[in-house]
């Protein structure tokens, strides 16, 4: 029998070879068998090679579901072991033997000669193979698994890709993809997955990709995405460029809309009423710190927006800075350089062109109706996906949810910015008061005319408040003391006159005494100036209620002026009194001299 197989294998080999070649046969291979075998052989062995690869053959054999020892037997019998490789002859014989074994025949060469059904191979990767065999269900399932796993792995990749992207958007939960309706549909087509689920996922991924692609365009610091997204990115970027040329205003996150601009201008006004002036660095720092962004980012925003690097923000610079803060709060990465649309020159030019703003609103209204359609389209597809509302609401809409042109996103974000701003407005209002302008320097010397006018006012006699008296006296004595060398400090004196009142009280007393000593011999005249001064006070009093109504600044200035004037009036009064006294003294002297003359004996004889 050993010869048998050897002998049998020889002619069988030749026959098989012949069968492989032409179909004429010692080995009865039916046509189907022939087809099948050649197919299998070509599968296991790529055409240029003469012998089947051992591993693929092994796989095939294993797929036949025969026990391993049977397979070993088969290999022996078919002669592969002897020959060392699976030539076509051996392969065909092996297949025949497998068929025989599966039919229950013993693994012998003789069995080949019988009419045998086709060998059954489960677990073949081609559908055709599966069809050829008579797959048992469980086998079929088992071996469809690789195929399914392949598909699933591709889905998994998609899932992971999608999942990566949803992770990054949490930082921008309200952010809306900018895809226009047309690109959205194109995305759906370009992916062309059979299953709705995967298609949905792809669609979800696509808007994110679109957004992130704009990210990448605007901010090179955005994250990386799978290679899968790259081809879509290119197509999307192309589409978006076409879009951009048509509707420039709706896509660019760095473009300030009219509403935003008004909002920024109002905020500017709250910090600095004059729109042409600057906001100083410290004021701006306090303001932007309220936005709760980390300091390094605020520092970077300042760097970007303060173009002239002067430590202060003009209105366009402030708008740019505010816009960047808002963008950052909405999750956008800060750009490395200031985008064109945020440059001060650009913003200033924009301020001068209100006509364009109408175009803004038109462009908003246009995408709206088309976005409605895609909204329904997406809603139909999306099944309870969290991303749905964001997608649906934001088709064709602007990046920023702040402009009220679109929907709940806008309202969602607006209260955010408003809450930020509401607290800030109050604080800003408190801090936004301009520092009081220093009071105008009072003139060192009042003209006599003005003091004379005041003298008329001071004619009235009343009881006075001694403290006011003191206050009026102190500036006067302060002026007396260091006379000429304190012009700039007078402003300070006047503003902090009260302080100096306290401080100067002790010196005032000797000063008063000094005044008194000056007019020592003229007690009554001394009293009269004081009385007159005190009488001046009630005249001042009617001024006081008027001044209380005005701001503190004016009051301070006016009190200072008043005190100076009073002091001057006092001095003038004193002067006039003394002059009068002098005249009287003169008269007396003249009288005395005449008397003397009369009394003197007339010596002239």
């Amino acid at each position: 029998m050993e010869q048998g197989p050897a002998g049998g294998s020889g002619p069988a080999a030749a026959a098989a070879a012949a069968a492989a070649g032409t179909g004429g046969l010692l080995l009865p291979l039916s046509e189907t068998e022939q087809q099948r075998y050649s197919e299998l052989f070509s599968r296991c062995c790529p055409p240029p090679e003469a012998a089947a690869g051992g591993s693929s053959v092994g796989e095939l054999f294993r797929a036949s579901q025969l026990p391993p020892d049977t397979l070993h037997q088969i290999t022996e019998v078919c002669g592969a072991k002897r020959v060392g490789y699976f030539g076509p002859a051996q392969f065909y014989i092996a297949l025949k033997l497998i068929a025989a074994a599966q039919s229950g025949f013993p693994v012998r060469i003789e069995s080949i000669k019988n009419e045998l059904p086709l060998p059954r191979f489960m677990a073949l990767k081609n559908d055709t193979e599966v069809r050829y065999g008579t797959p048992a269900e469980f086998h079929g399932v088992k071996f469809q698994v690789p195929h399914a796993t392949l598909e699933k792995s591709s889905y998994k990749r998609a899932d992971e890709g999608e999942k990566q992207e949803p992770k990054s958007p949490p930082m921008s939960p309200i952010c809306s993809p900018p895809a226009s309706p047309s690109t959205y549909q194109r995305i759906a087509q370009s992916y062309g997955y059979g299953k709705a689920r995967s298609g949905l996922e792809q669609q979800h991924g696509a808007p994110y990709e679109v957004r992130h692609s704009t990210h990448q365009q605007d901010g090179p610091s955005s994250g990386n995405y799978g290679a899968k997204s790259c081809p879509s990115l290119q197509s999307l970027s192309v589409e978006r460029e076409q879009q951009d040329s048509s509707s420039q205003y709706s896509d660019d996150p760095w473009r300030i809309t009219e509403e935003q601009r008004d909002y920024y201008i109002n905020q500017f006004r709250s910090l600095q009423p004059d729109l042409n002036a600057f906001i100083s660095g410290s004021v701006a720092k306090n303001f932007f710190t309220k936005s709760k962004l980390p300091i390094p980012e605020l520092s970077h925003i300042w760097e970007l927006s303060d173009v002239d690097c002067d430590g202060a923000l003009t209105l366009p610079e402030f708008c740019a800075a505010f816009h960047l803060v808002v963008a950052r709060k909405n999750g956008y990465q800060l750009p490395e350089t200031l985008p064109e649309t945020l440059l001060p020159e650009y913003l200033q030019a924009a301020c001068l062109k209100p006509v364009r703003d109408c175009a803004l609103f038109d462009s908003y209204s246009e995408p709206l109706p088309s976005s409605q359609q895609t909204r329904d389209f997406s809603r139909a597809e999306v099944r309870g996906c969290k991303l749905g509302p964001y997608l649906a609401d934001s088709d064709g809409s602007f990046f920023f949810s702040i402009p009220a042109a679109q929907e709940p996103n806008a309202h969602r974000a607006r209260p955010r910015s408003r809450s930020y701003s509401s607290t800030s407005i109050e604080d800003a209002m408190k801090k936004g008061e301009e520092p009081p302008t220093p009071p105008p320097r009072p003139q060192k010397s009042h003209s006599r005319a003005s003091s004379l006018d005041l003298n008329k006012i001071f004619q009235q006699n009343t009881q006075a408040m001694t403290d006011l008296l003191l206050q009026t006296e102190q500036p006067s004595e302060v002026e007396l003391h260091p006379q000429m060398n304190r012009p700039p400090s007078q402003a300070e004196e006047n503003s902090s006159a009260k302080k100096e009142v306290v401080l100067a009280q002790p010196p005032s007393k000797p000063a008063r005494r000094k005044l008194r000593t000056e007019a020592q011999g003229l007690e009554t005249p001394e009293l009269s100036p004081t009385i007159n001064v005190t009488s001046s006070l009630p005249a001042v009093k009617p001024h006081l209620p008027v001044q209380k109504q005005s701001s503190k600044q004016k009051r301070a200035i006016q009190t200072a002026i008043r005190k100076n004037k009073e002091a001057n009036a006092v001095l003038a009064r004193l002067n006039s009194e003394l002059q009068q006294q002098l005249k009287e003294v003169h008269k007396e002297r003249i009288a005395l001299e005449t008397q003397l003359e009369q009394l003197r004996p007339v010596t002239v004889l």
């Binding site: 660095g281 300091i295 390094p296 520092s299 970077h300 760097e303 303060d306 690097c309 430590g311 490395e336």
Partner: protein, 139 residues
């Protein structure tokens, strides 16, 4: 151009130091640190002479075989130290001066930023860009 650029604060701690990456950076840190002594020496010498322009270019602090170190101090005693490769002989004094001037300008720009507290480390991207432009382009 420069191999290492450092900004040292008044209290002699570094606000910013950047070297060409391929070299052993620690060596440059050490060089800058030791050059501070020379800077202080020059400042004190200048102070006695009542130099009109205090914020001046200090010139070559000391040369070694591999490189040269230049210094610059501002009015607020902030020092800029630059290490330049000796093999680069084409660099003239004027160029070094202009580089220091650019550094100083960028530094003042940083100061203008209200979010920058003097004495903090410098993290400004504009400053980084400017410094990168001055660093040697190592292939």
């Amino acid at each position: 151009m420069a191999v290492c650029i450092a900004v040292i604060a008044k209290e002699n701690y570094p606000l910013y130091i950047r070297s060409v990456p391929t070299e052993n950076e620690l060596k440059f840190h050490y060089t800058v640190h030791t050059s501070l002594d020379v800077v202080d020496e020059k400042i004190s010498a200048m102070g006695k002479a009542l130099v009109d322009q205090r914020e001046l270019y200090l010139g070559l602090l000391y040369p070694t075989e591999d490189y040269k170190v230049y210094g610059y101090v501002t009015n607020s005693k902030v020092k800029f130290v630059m290490v330049v490769d000796s093999s680069n002989t084409a660099l003239r004094d004027n160029e070094i001066r202009s580089m220091f001037r650019k550094l100083h300008n960028s530094y003042t720009d940083i100061m203008c930023n209200p979010f920058y507290n003097p004495g903090d480390r410098i993290h400004s991207r504009a400053f980084d860009t400017m410094v990168n432009s001055m660093m040697m382009q190592v292939c």
